[in-house]
């Protein structure tokens, strides 16, 4: 008997289940219904309050956040960030329509490269799929315009997040993603990112920048912001 058959038949006999495809498969029914469980109330807010909570929670875990009115403000903000941290004027951007279409040359003197992350990238700029106010969490979804490696290889990660895509809770983001990918499917990688990389493995001392970025900078695009 194969390992698969042996494990499954042992489980079936212990659980009193007759065979593989019995009617009323409790698992498939539960999956199809995918009920929401208890969702903490803290995220149930109107849009403006949701954005405020997101900023508060992301800041609590050492991310920095700036609110801007439109994508056209991104190049200046990136430029200012590099100056503030005295970083080389060189960035790697995700090949995302909303970043590629920006007038980087006109507005900044940065060297702008685009593509997936490489080992020598210092600063990356990418676009979030969404945010979760509950814990100040960014949701990144892999795809041709959003390579995952940009989220982890550079020491500085700048993420552009549209305020409209900030949900109250994780479940709301899953609903959106499920509607887009189709039932039972997901992109190759979905990353929830909550603050910059950290470790406390040496004498329980908290240090930022273990393997992922040491700094996480979030630009929230909110046209209603004035």
């Amino acid at each position: 008997m194969s390992a698969r058959e042996e494990i499954l038949s042992k489980l079936r006999s212990k659980l009193g289940h007759s065979n593989a495809s019995n009617d009323g498969n409790a698992a498939l029914k539960h999956i199809q219904e995918h009920h929401k469980n208890l969702i903490p109330r803290r995220g149930s807010l109107d849009k403006a309050q949701r954005v405020d909570l997101f900023v508060q929670e992301a800041t609590r875990v050492n991310a920095t956040v700036v609110r801007i009115q439109g994508f056209e403000d991104v190049p200046n903000q990136v430029s200012a960030y590099l100056r503030e941290h005295q970083l080389p004027a060189k960035i790697k951007i995700a090949p995302h329509d909303n970043l590629k279409s920006l007038d980087w040359q006109q507005k900044t003197s940065l060297m702008v490269d685009e593509g997936r992350g490489q080992g020598d990238d210092g600063v990356s700029v990418s676009v979030a799929y969404g945010g979760v106010a509950e814990t100040g969490t960014l949701v990144m979804s892999s795809g041709p315009q959003t390579p995952t490696s940009l989220n982890f290889l550079p020491l500085d990660h700048i993420v552009v997040l549209e305020a409209d895509n900030i949900a109250g809770d994780y479940e709301a983001v899953w609903e959106r993603l499920r509607a887009q990918s189709g039932p039972g499917k997901l992109p190759r990688t979905v990353n929830w990112i909550t603050g910059p990389s950290r470790t406390a493995d040496i004498e329980q001392t908290l240090l930022l920048g273990a393997h992922g970025p040491q700094r996480l900078h979030i630009l929230i695009v909110d046209p209603s912001e004035s």
Binding site: K14, H17, T135, T148, R188, V190, N191, L207, A210, H211
Partner: protein, 483 residues
């Protein structure tokens, strides 16, 4: 690894004399419980979420056969491969086979308790493949050839000076007189060393905090980001996970994630929670070309429906370790195998046998703190007692202890006699314990050689109750007499 669990008593004695370990445990004993409590207090729904997390896993375990099949189908649909393995040996061979087919020389690894359980690192090395642990703590203990001493903080037993020595011995290409005094410089050295490994690895081997049946996804939770560089950069991603890691849906995974980090580190959520589904898609710019899941039983199916069934709800957060008076005294290595603390004392006998691990279920005060903080509400003390019962039935343990238990049981079943004997014993001890405490006592030297034994003050509870003495008065009386 060869378990040293049979030497628990000796291991514990050594641990108590280990100064860096004791300093680390003292820090852990304050920090972790405090941070967990703060996180729980920040979320009013925390206790209700624990109930739901428990119910989700109960439902999964009742239908585990169906969930495993549903999960397998989704992995296959998304282009991945599932390899079912009965035991550690099959799992090791399967992983080696995948690595060989990929022509792998180097395998990066992100922390996985199951990979420790099957001792895959030693096996890969024997077969000419270099496994590299990438979690900072795991990297340090890999260099030192030690098992983890805590589920989520594997190198917690070491001082920064010990880590510095380890790095000096391992990184011989670097200047011998470099400054490694501060944790920051140690981290930066490890980051640079491991970055080369990440970029050069052929296979990335990760564990899974959960497997989601709805989508065929594995969930990875880290704070460092090492699991992400491990699964994203190499050409092949291999996941090693045991069968009870299944959760039904994305919603169910989210509920469990809400209690996981809060219980583990006291964070609301860990920095990186990653959901991997299949290999990269044709239009993707990065990600692995192959995706394999090594699905391991290794004793779990045997636990289904047994007295230890509920142990299969465990999500490996480490809260029971952080709150356990025994763990906080002796640390993880004393337990002698991969797991430790209350969850280890219940799980290890299931996996390596009751004979080998017989001391572990007895290394507990049964204070109940572990169950009170377990996010999955696993009745750990009840299961520790089950092991003790089994040991008694199997005639294990010292003859004296067995005789004492048997006599006590005989007496306890005869309430009138029990009270008479207790009253006489208490009166006798009370008479001789004039100072309120004994410095030494025949038959009790195991206790009195280390500390005084308080003498009974007054009658037994039952006789006071019969006399109509009320709690306040007699309580005050007792305290006065003892101190």
């Amino acid at each position: 690894m060869q378990p040293t669990s049979p030497n628990f008593k000796q291991n514990a004695r050594e641990a108590i004399a280990d100064d860096p370990l004791q300093a680390a445990l003292a820090k852990l004993a304050v920090g972790f419980p405090m941070r967990r409590l703060e996180a729980a207090q920040r979320l009013p729904e925390f206790e209700d979420l624990r109930d739901q997390a428990r119910d989700i896993k109960n439902h999964v375990l009742e239908n585990l056969d169906q969930y495993l099949e549903a999960y397998e189908k989704k992995v296959t649909d998304s282009g991945g491969h599932v390899h079912w393995c009965r035991d550690a040996k099959e799992a090791r061979e399967t992983i080696l086979d995948i690595c060989r087919k990929a022509g792998a020389k180097t395998v990066t690894k992100s922390k996985s308790m199951i990979s420790e359980e099957i001792a895959v690192n030693a096996y890969l090395e024997e077969n000419g493949i270099e496994p590299v642990e990438t979690d900072l703590g795991e990297y340090i203990i890999q260099l030192r050839k030690e098992p983890p001493s805590h589920i989520i903080a594997p190198a917690i037993h070491l001082s920064k000076e010990q880590v510095a020595d380890t790095f000096r011995n391992a990184h011989i290409d670097l200047a011998a007189d470099r400054d490694l005094d501060e944790p920051r410089s140690l981290l930066e050295e490890a980051r640079a060393k491991l970055r080369e490994k990440f970029l050069g690895a052929d296979v990335g081997l990760t564990g899974a905090n959960m497997l989601i049946a709805e989508t065929g996804t594995n969930v990875l939770v880290t704070n460092e980001g090492n699991a992400d560089l491990t699964n994203n950069l190499p050409r092949v991603h291999v996941v090693i996970a045991s069968i009870e890691k299944i959760v039904p849906t994305l919603e169910d995974a989210s509920t469990i994630l809400r209690v996981l980090a809060r219980s583990a580190t006291g964070q609301d959520i860990s920095v990186y929670t990653t959901f991997c589904t299949g290999p990269r898609r044709p239009e993707d710019l990065d990600g692995p070309e192959e995706y394999h899941v090594v699905l391991l039983d290794n004793g779990r199916s045997e636990m289904i429906g047994s007295e230890f069934h509920e142990m299969l709800r465990c999500i490996r957060c480490g809260a029971c370790l952080n709150h356990c008076p025994i763990y906080k005294s002796v640390g993880g290595h004393a337990y002698g195998w991969v797991y430790s603390g209350p969850m280890g004392a219940v799980l290890i006998p299931n996996l390596i046998g009751m004979e080998e691990a017989q001391h572990l279920p007895n290394a507990s005060t049964l204070c109940g703190k572990c169950e009170s903080v377990c996010p999955m509400r696993i009745p750990l003390p009840k299961m520790l007692r089950k092991w003790r019962e089994r040991q008694y039935k199997a005639e294990m343990g010292s003859a004296t202890a067995r005789w004492a238990l048997k006599s006590w049981a005989w007496l306890a079943k005869r309430p009138a006699l029990y009270r008479r004997v207790m009253n006489a014993g208490v009166a006798l001890l009370g008479q001789f314990g004039g100072q309120g405490r004994f410095k030494s006592l025949p038959l009790a030297s195991g206790w009195t050689s280390k500390r005084d034994l308080a003498a009974p003050a007054g009658d037994t509870f039952i006789s006071q109750h019969h006399k109509g003495a009320r709690g306040d008065q007699s309580g005050a009386l007792m305290r006065k007499k003892v101190h």
